[in-house]
């Protein structure tokens, strides 16, 4: 915790610096409020209208969490399935890539046609966004398993399941976390986008409305909130990584102690 605080001042400083530059350039270049509001103004609005945001934040957060959990689970399952079942690996790749290339805008009406306006199609959108980086990262990780350890496992008579759980899975964990970090970030965006599928609450809804009524200040408040949520989420994944990968297989973690 103390460490977090100790390391946290830098990003905060950078952000503050950025805000100052932004504020100054708004003043210096006389940028009009409707084009790009000053951070001070955004902050003011944010504080003043916080009760308005509360419900939206809650709705979106719920989407994010459910979506991310489902999405990353599916990403992991897909990677594992593709890794373990050669037939799947050889035949499913195109479908996975396909899933990333159907524009949501186009998919949206179809999703609504198939699943209505409920929670489901939204979760589906976040899932689609989330699962891909995890699946690709993890698959890459599985292919980098250490050969000596693999030899040992096979010699010792380990079956596929044991090889997987005792060797491939732990050794691919760093890759998994790379994927999780990417997905965690995207899940927030995915949730916002998914609200285009029709929602009555949520930051995505709020943002479109604010944008169409020429209130960029409100849009930016929403963006700030979104970024904050993402950051928190990202930090959570980083913390999780530290907790899970404790074995110091790499130089980096070690060098904290000695140098």
């Amino acid at each position: 915790m103390r460490k977090l605080l100790k390391q946290g001042w830098r990003p905060i400083l950078v952000l503050i610096l950025l805000f100052i530059i932004w504020e100054l350039s708004v003043i210096v270049f006389e940028i009009q409020k409707w084009l790009l509001p000053a951070p001070s103004e955004i902050f003011k609005i944010g504080v003043a209208e916080w009760p308005n945001y509360y419900g939206h934040v809650l709705a979106t957060s719920k989407l994010i969490i459910i979506g991310f959990i489902i999405g990353s689970s599916i990403g992991i399952i897909v990677a594992v399935a593709l890794h373990l079942v050669k037939f799947l690996r050889l035949s499913m790749y195109p479908l996975i890539i396909l899933s990333q290339n159907i524009p949501i805008i186009i998919l949206a009406p179809l999703l609504v046609v198939w699943f209505g306006f409920g929670m489901f199609p939204k979760i589906l959108v976040i899932t689609l966004v989330c699962f891909f980086p995890i699946a690709i990262s993890l698959l890459g990780g599985f292919q980098q398993t250490d050969r000596d350890l693999m030899h040992y496992m096979k010699m010792a008579g380990a079956n596929k399941k044991q090889i997987f759980w005792k060797l491939e899975w732990p050794s691919a964990l760093p890759y998994l976390f790379s994927g999780l970090k990417i997905s965690a970030t995207y899940s927030v965006m995915g949730a916002v986008i998914s609200e285009w599928l029709g929602a009555s609450k949520g930051l995505g809804v709020y943002m479109t409305l604010a944008s169409s009524s020429f209130r960029p200040d409100r849009v930016f408040v929403a963006i700030f909130i979104i970024v904050a949520i993402s950051l928190l989420f990202f930090l959570f994944i980083m913390w999780l990584e530290k907790v899970v990968i404790r074995w110091h297989s790499s130089e980096k973690r070690d060098s904290n102690e000695t140098s």
Partner: protein, 311 residues
């Protein structure tokens, strides 16, 4: 013509940004461009699709010189001090309305009760529905309003997720005719005069008006000519649009053009003319319904000054 090369250099480069994908609301601009009306005025006009960027900010900030917009959004924009000004009404009367499949039996706002409306989640929608329903003493609280996001009308109603939605007859309504889907329309204008606003309009920014009024006049002259041509020769005009944007559905363009041609000018003495009372009425209506933070200075929001002299 043969002097094209030499004159091209002297032409003033102008960007016009559309409100959405090209459609028959824009025919006049395409006609003016492709029949050389703009060139005659010394303008080299490029028509740009804004995609999701939205036209209003681009016009207001001067990245585009002209744009296609709506009275609703200009009203909201003006209230937020966005320096955008309407310079012509593309269509004289509001052709939008609430559409539903015929079998739903929605023929008047009264029938909205107990039905589901699909929109995009703006407060404006509820106000409009409530407004037209009031005329028939119907209760807006009995309408289920859902957000259907980016879904298109046909998809949504066919699936029975919603019963009615707000469309432009000139495009979506005509498409329904083409595909033999019978729909009922409840036009806004039939129920509230205040809702007979201009949609769409051509817009520019205050800077242009102040510093380049001549360019604006030239632009408007050519555009008027273009729309006049579309009014007089809808078939030919449709072909010009199709040729310019071959990826549009030709059938739909033709049918829509046919339907829209008489609506451009309608009862006005001249294409593009805007009335102050229309702006005031609508702004008032919005203000009454808590849709505006402050009152609109209608005189600032539009001008007829650049329309060509009537012959």
């Amino acid at each position: 013509g043969g002097n094209e090369d030499t004159s091209k250099d002297e032409l003033e480069e102008i960007k016009v940004v559309l409100d959405w994908t090209p459609n028959t609301n824009h025919t006049g601009l395409y006609v003016a461009r492709d029949k050389g009306y703009f060139e005659e005025e010394g303008l080299d006009v490029e028509i740009i699709m804004p995609g999701e960027a939205g036209a209003d900010q681009l016009v207001a900030s001067g990245k585009a010189d002209f744009g296609v917009s709506y009275q609703e959004s200009i009203t909201e924009a003006r209230v937020q001090d966005v320096p955008i000004v309407s310079i012509a009404a593309v269509i004289q009367h509001n052709t939008s309305g609430f559409a539903s499949l015929e079998e739903e039996g929605i023929t008047s706002p009264k029938d909205f009760e107990g039905k589901t409306y699909g929109g995009w989640g703006a407060p404006l929608e509820k106000a409009v529905i409530s407004s037209v329903m009031q005329q028939e003493n119907a209760d807006v609280s009995k309408v289920d309003i859902v957000n259907m996001g980016d879904s298109d009308f046909f998809t949504a109603v066919e699936r029975d997720d919603i019963d009615f939605a707000w469309i432009y007859y000139g495009w979506t309504g005509v498409e329904a005719e083409l595909r033999d889907t019978d729909i009922n329309m409840v036009y806004l204008t039939d129920y509230s005069e205040k809702l007979d606003y201009y949609t769409p309009v051509l817009a520019t920014n205050e800077d242009m008006i102040e510093n380049n009024p001549e360019t604006v006049s030239k632009f408007m002259k050519a555009a008027s000519q273009g729309y006049q041509f579309a009014i007089d020769n809808p078939v030919e005009a449709a072909n010009i649009l199709i040729e310019a944007e071959p990826d549009l559905d030709a059938e739909l363009v033709k049918a829509s053009q046919e339907w829209l041609a008489p609506k451009y000018k309608d009862d006005a003495s001249q294409w593009g003319l805007q009335k102050q009372e229309v702006w005031e009425n609508y702004a008032e209506w919005m203000y009454e319904h808590d849709l505006l933070e402050s009152e609109l200075d209608a005189e600032q929001a539009f001008t007829n000054e650049f329309l060509p002299e009537e012959d």
